[in-house]
């Protein structure tokens, strides 16, 4: 019998559908990952399963208990490690665990015994009596995971378990999670927007985008969907792409062609944010001379392609980031990619376009995400306005409807 069964779970916040008719089931002992960009609806789904948020429609059972009817039984069946820290930093590690144990009604000797055990598991025994405010980020995270396990939940929910941690700590937490899953047979649901985390940890991955499940399978099977090799072409000039793309698509050995935004997404994102802020305060200056906003020109609708224009405008404006402007990269899914590269290069040469580099790699979950959603998981440019809007609404709404 599945530990979790979700049936058409839906959550609307005003006009926005954060989670859209999501159904899935989780078997005992499984690690299921929700993979998706920020604002995709991952945390909202977890909050509904944890009875912190009431679904607009649909329902689910956790450990056989209905989330709408038996919230106490559901809460007893789960451990929840939140994305943001929820420890009392003025208490010691031991006291935080003790508080939790009492809150879940564990008897004194059981509590003491389990605290001792769990501290050993997360390797915090010798720091247990120090105040949590003296802990490092990784130690706090381990303590939160330990706390989530103290009442022996059937299912552990981990919301972005390694967000903001350094690679070593991340690796250590992954190993903890795996050990817990294997040794204690705890079913784990985690959300992440790190593909490598999902790939490393999860038995199955559920890709969520705009509140919908767009793929659900094992990491290997997901990757097998992209049989072949990824050949990545980076051009000197984005103008070459429209010419070359149809030529490549005609070749029988090219399975698919995806345009990918250039690499420097974080920089582009932050510049966009700055531009947005400038826009909000009416301080556009000479940044975007080609655009007009507001009622003056009788246009109250924000142009659809603003993000690109902003980037181009800014890039062109200060002269140093102009190359971030267009899409300069094509990803090809090719059979036996290594042998096709000379042919591809010849083809490109014939059109007169200039290649900057060519890369070859086996498909990763990043590529899978791109192929099922049409977007790069870390690239929020394509639908920038939409993403920011969703993110903001979900963030605000998340706070407003938490059930007690």
């Amino acid at each position: 019998m599945p530990v979790i069964e979700a049936n058409n779970l839906t959550k609307r916040f005003g006009p926005l559908t954060a989670v859209d008719h999501v159904s899935f089931s989780v078997e005992e002992g499984e690690i299921l990952g929700f993979l998706g960009p920020n604002g995709a609806g991952k945390t909202t789904t977890l909050n509904m399963l944890a009875t912190l948020l009431r679904p607009t429609s649909g329902t689910a059972t956790v450990n056989g208990h209905d989330i709408l009817e038996e919230s106490d039984a559901v809460r007893r069946s789960i451990g929840f490690v939140f994305q943001d820290p929820t420890l009392d930093i003025e208490l010691t590690g031991h006291e935080n665990l003790d508080f939790h144990g009492r809150l879940y009604g564990l008897k004194r000797d059981v509590r003491q015994q389990r605290i001792k055990e769990i501290l050993k598991v997360v390797q915090l025994t010798d720091r247990a009596d120090d105040l949590v405010k003296t802990y490092s980020g990784g130690m706090k995270r381990r303590l939160e995971i330990a706390r989530g396990l103290l009442h022996y939940p059937k299912v552990l929910f981990l919301d972005e378990p390694t967000l903001g941690l350094d690679p070593q700590t991340r690796r250590a937490i992954w190993e903890h999670i795996q050990r817990l899953n294997q040794d204690e047979n705890i079913t784990i649901i985690l959300t992440t927007h790190y593909t490598e985390e999902a790939d490393y940890l999860c038995d199955r991955i559920q890709i969520i985008d705009f509140g919908k499940i767009v793929a659900l399978d094992t990491p290997d099977k997901l990757k097998a969907r992209l049989e072949g090799d990824i050949v990545s072409l980076v051009f000197k000039d984005s103008a070459a792409i429209p010419k070359i793309k149809p030529l490549l698509e005609k070749k029988g050995w090219v399975r698919r062609v995806d345009e990918v935004a250039s690499d420097n997404n974080h920089a582009a994102m932050s510049r966009m944010m700055q531009a947005m802020r400038g826009m909000a305060s009416g301080n556009m200056g000479g940044m975007m001379p080609s655009m007009s906003f507001g009622g003056a020109a009788g246009r109250s609708k924000i142009p659809k392609h603003m993000p690109q224009k902003i980037v181009q405008g800014i890039g062109g404006g200060n002269g140093e980031n102009g190359r971030d402007g267009g899409q300069r990269r094509l990803n090809l899914l090719v059979d036996d990619g290594g042998h096709r590269i000379p042919e591809i290069v010849k083809l490109v040469d014939r059109t007169g376009a200039v290649l900057e580099s060519v890369e070859l790699h086996k498909p990763t979950l990043d590529d899978v995400f791109l192929s099922v959603t049409g977007r790069n998981i870390r690239d929020e440019r394509g639908s920038f306005m939409e993403t920011v809007r969703r993110y903001r609404i979900v963030r605000e709404a998340r706070g407003q409807h938490v059930r007690g």
Binding site: F80, D84, L87, E90, L91, H100, G105, G399
Partner: protein, 262 residues
């Protein structure tokens, strides 16, 4: 909206409040010292000029009022700290547990009442050592009664603090609360002067201040039933008003907390 109560949950939240209180030694020292300065500077300084009221020296008159000040500030602050729990995330840990919000907030109110009353007991001891209260056999009973009154006062004002804390989303408005809520409640509580010496409009304002009844009761407990400085009502009415205030504030605070957004 009746939610099942869990004694264990109430107790554990109370325990947390005690631990945090005990650990914040600097805060205890600061607030006791603040009240101590009032006692010394006003009690002795202003006292040497005023002398006293109705044959009682000014320090004795001031003592219960200053204890009241400690109770008031300590308990409102303790209630408002639900904002901190929210900002630092610990609230989520409590809300995802299989216990009702009512249990959590009752634990919080009880914890705030106990810690603020501990503060009151410290101040009562300090005032006693300064000679504010005449040691008689009746005083022993009075002190016990005063502790009960303290718990009643503080439970009500923690409720007020929780009400404010549930309505506010962050801590920036706290200065406003101090200026427009806590200070008037304190100054109008009859701590510095007897109500019958005040002009009529001020008397009305004082009668609207729940803290006024609390200070009256503390005075009645600590200075003896024969004290001539009681307001227009006897102790029974003062106790009734205070109990009513506490019941209403705990009710409102609990209700608002059950709807609070995390």
């Amino acid at each position: 909206m009746v939610q099942p109560l869990s004694g264990q949950a109430i107790y554990v939240v109370l325990l947390r409040e005690l631990k945090r209180y005990w650990r914040a030694k600097a805060r205890i020292i600061a607030s006791v010292a603040q009240s101590f300065f009032f006692l010394v500077i006003f009690g002795l300084g202003l006292g040497s000029f005023i002398g006293g009221f109705g044959g009682m020296n000014y320090l004795s008159y001031l003592g219960p009022g200053i204890i009241g000040m400690g109770l008031l500030f300590g308990s409102v602050f303790s209630g408002v700290s639900v904002i901190f729990d929210r900002q630092f995330g610990f609230m989520k840990e409590m809300l995802v547990a299989p216990v009702s919000r009512t249990s959590i907030i009752l634990g919080k109110i009880l914890g705030g009442a106990v810690t603020a009353s501990i503060q009151g007991i410290i101040l009562m001891t300090v005032a006693g050592l300064m000679g504010a209260f005449t040691p008689t056999p009746a005083l022993a009973a009075g002190v016990l009664a005063a502790v009960g009154v303290m718990l009643l006062i503080t439970a009500g004002f923690v409720g007020l603090g929780v009400t404010i804390g549930s309505a506010l989303s962050d801590f920036h408005a706290f200065q406003l609360i101090a200026t427009f809520v806590m200070w008037p409640l304190f100054m109008l509580s009859g701590v510095f002067f007897p109500i019958d010496m005040a002009p009529a409009p001020l008397q009305v304002a004082m009668l609207c201040d729940p803290m006024f009844y609390g200070v009256e009761l503390l005075r009645w407990c600590l200075l003896g039933a024969g004290t001539p400085l009681l307001g227009p009502f006897g102790w029974l009415i003062a106790l009734g008003v205070l109990a009513g205030f506490t019941a209403v504030m705990v009710g409102i605070g609990t209700y608002l907390f059950s709807r609070v957004q995390v």
